[in-house]
Chain length 256, copies 4
């Protein structure tokens, strides 16, 4: 009985779905830990901050790893109480194979690598993994899930817009390769190399490291720049529409 009521209390602490509103203290602490661990991972890359403090950052990483491990074990323990897992024959196995549990398990890995030490390349990869701890946040926010659903319901339109962008990129790069490959062989020497110019132009970033210098190249580039407006307008329209769907749904359910 004592164990069961403790289990209930833990469940209400670790599962955001167990409460109709707000987040429990444990949830808030976990969110804070996520931000702190990502912040530490970002700062560690800056030599002027981390030089001479390697032990501190190592200790922090192991601490974060232990705390995330404790949260994972607690969630595993109370999994049979969760409505989604309770229906299954093996509720804990069901929990372990759910996306949010896999994300939580992956978030512990970098601390293990840090404990074990390792080569430089592995360390770099691990650093990237620590940044992805932000994905743990997704479990706590309904707005993110709403946006994800809205975008995934417009999957086909987004694929269409992406295909059109890739098609325009290919035609644009072929035209510029045709016009500029003799004048600037290092930047426009092949179609794959010209892709870099194409992306920089179609997204209107325009760094200025590659641009056409021949009259024909400038003429094609002008047409591509104008086409870029359409290439950007399509996904903008789709994403803005999906966003307005999320807003309407939230207003309805929020009762505002």
């Amino acid at each position: 009985m004592g164990v069961e009521s403790l289990k209930q209390a833990v469940f209400r602490q670790v599962d955001p779905a167990a409460r109709t509103e707000g987040l429990s203290l444990t949830n808030r602490i976990v969110i804070l830990l996520i931000f702190l661990s990502v912040g530490a991972a970002v700062l560690e890359t800056e030599q002027s901050v981390s030089a001479g403090r390697e032990a501190l950052f190592r200790g922090l990483e192991i601490l974060f790893g232990l705390l995330f491990l404790a949260e994972y074990l607690a969630r595993l323990w109370v999994a049979p109480l969760s409505p989604e897992c309770a229906a299954s024959r093996y509720p804990r196995l069901k929990f372990m194979t759910s996306p949010s549990a896999i994300i939580d398990l992956l978030a512990i890995l970098p601390a293990l690598f840090t404990l074990a030490g390792g080569a430089t390349l592995a360390l770099r990869f691990v650093r990237f993994f620590r940044i992805l701890r932000l994905a743990k946040l997704g479990r706590f926010s309904r707005a993110w899930r709403d946006l994800g659903e809205a975008l995934s319901s417009r999957r086909e339109e987004l694929i269409l817009a992406f295909s059109l962008a890739m098609f325009t990129l290919l035609i644009a790069s072929t035209l510029l390769y045709w016009a500029e490959s003799d004048a600037q062989p290092d930047k426009f020497g092949s179609i794959p190399r010209t892709f870099w110019w194409g992306i920089v132009t179609l997204t209107t970033v325009g760094y200025g490291d590659v641009y056409p210098i021949t009259p024909l190249g400038k003429f094609f580039s002008a047409i591509v720049s104008l086409a870029a407006i359409g290439v950007i307008a399509l996904p903008t329209g789709i994403v803005a529409g999906a966003m307005s769907d999320v807003m309407q749904r939230r207003r309805k359910s929020g009762g505002e």
Copy 2:
């Protein structure tokens, strides 16, 4: 009685809410003074204009300060007539703690600093304060307040869009740091340093002071540039939606 009717007249002159339509002569003069004082603050920084005219700019600043002080005192005097403050037990205290009164008080400060003289750093800070006198204009325009309300009612969506932008910025900077830190250690040497590249790319400003040079960096940069379209589309959709709300409300209330 004479004092009361004078108070009434002053109230109608200084409070835009006291009149159903248009602005009083005093309001118009104050608006003009705001533009003049901001204009003077901007011009004073340009050496080719201000050199040899220090006394003129100093005198102008003190004059503007005195006039804004007079307006503030007048508003304080007639505060008990204002519907918002009259309900309070201490109407003048209520007025003094309202946002618009605090803005008006802050707008007088720079003139005091100018009178007192002061160190160079303080002067620079004061100069920035003078620019913020533009915020005094907010009191006179219903459209600005409407827009502010429309945006604040979509607070949550804007926070969601901002979080997504920050998340993308972090992932993008980590990827580019991973790919470019060896090739360009001064520009991509740590994740915080790479943030500058990330902002310049995600907002499609693209100054051209930092850009990837390795094939892997260019590949990641291409993906980030495409993701930028979505990152920009979300707030664009929200702001455009808020703007269309303002327009509909104005048409209804304006009866057009």
Copy 3:
């Protein structure tokens, strides 16, 4: 009677409003002349084209001027037949003071200047005037007028968006002047000079001739770049809304 029927025929030739659909032969010739005269004005500035052909371009310009003069006199002659001018006591005076007639008169001026010769500065100004002959086209297109009306009905919102952009520009330039004036006095040495950086950043053009180099300047610039998204989103929303109004009105009246 012969004169009157000639007048009627001329009226049907020169006034697009006299026909329910399509444009008369004269209208089409005038439109062609507008494009040809603008094309000639553009090409004349390119030395590799105009060198040695000064007499040709001079002759063309005088020819275009004479033809536009003939059109103007014809329109003046038949003005009493036009519904807008007929109601007036002095229909020809009414016509001469209408915007489209003033534009047509101004379009003849450059030819007179060319005939009279003139100084280099005057010539440059005249060249710009010739480009403005494109404004004559406005008379022939209903779509342009529809768009103009749609935008002018949203005048207040556009002014609001423009004010917000100017306000952001001023704050942004003050912040960057504050952060960068010591490091780059030639580019950020005063607030007015920093405006150039502000415009290039807020419109996301990002030429790359001016950008912050201090950490504080980069931090402020990052915030300004993010604010730019909102500054651009407001007018985009307004213009797109006005455009959709034009489209709906055209579909209704076009019966499509």
Copy 4:
């Protein structure tokens, strides 16, 4: 009878309209071949990939050409079964003059050129033609056709937006030519040369190879950059509207 049933089977294999849902195996193979042939054409331009493998790429090209020829002949053979061509007196002639059949015929040409050999210039042109094989994909996707129809129904609005962009480009280039031609004769020496700056600024690409340096040029450039927002907003609004039409139609017909 055996021939007729074979014809029926071939028809069901080559014509996507013959099946209510999904694509036949032959369709899928043709789509794969299109991507492979375009990929080969792109890679062939990169010396580090193609050097020493000329015979391989030549062989691949001839293989792709033969397979596309086979598909074309099969479609020609079964054309009388297609509802669109059956009504005609000469169904095969009708098929041969349809846009999709012309595209398919053109897609075979590059292989013939490769077989025949040819001069360098012709080869370059042929390479561009191979990229256009992507246009063959249009036949297999309803979404592309829907988008094409939605955009073509807003033809007039797009022409209006394009005219406005060209008009702004012309005015902007004339102003900048006027202000900068003396300071930077190589970049702003004539109006046609200034068009390059105009396109780079109006589309907000901003490479940074050309930008104004005189105060007047910067002032005009600032106005043009602000006008660019409107120039981009018009087509963005039209394209986003057309996209939302496509989405609504798909939802209705898809029954989602």
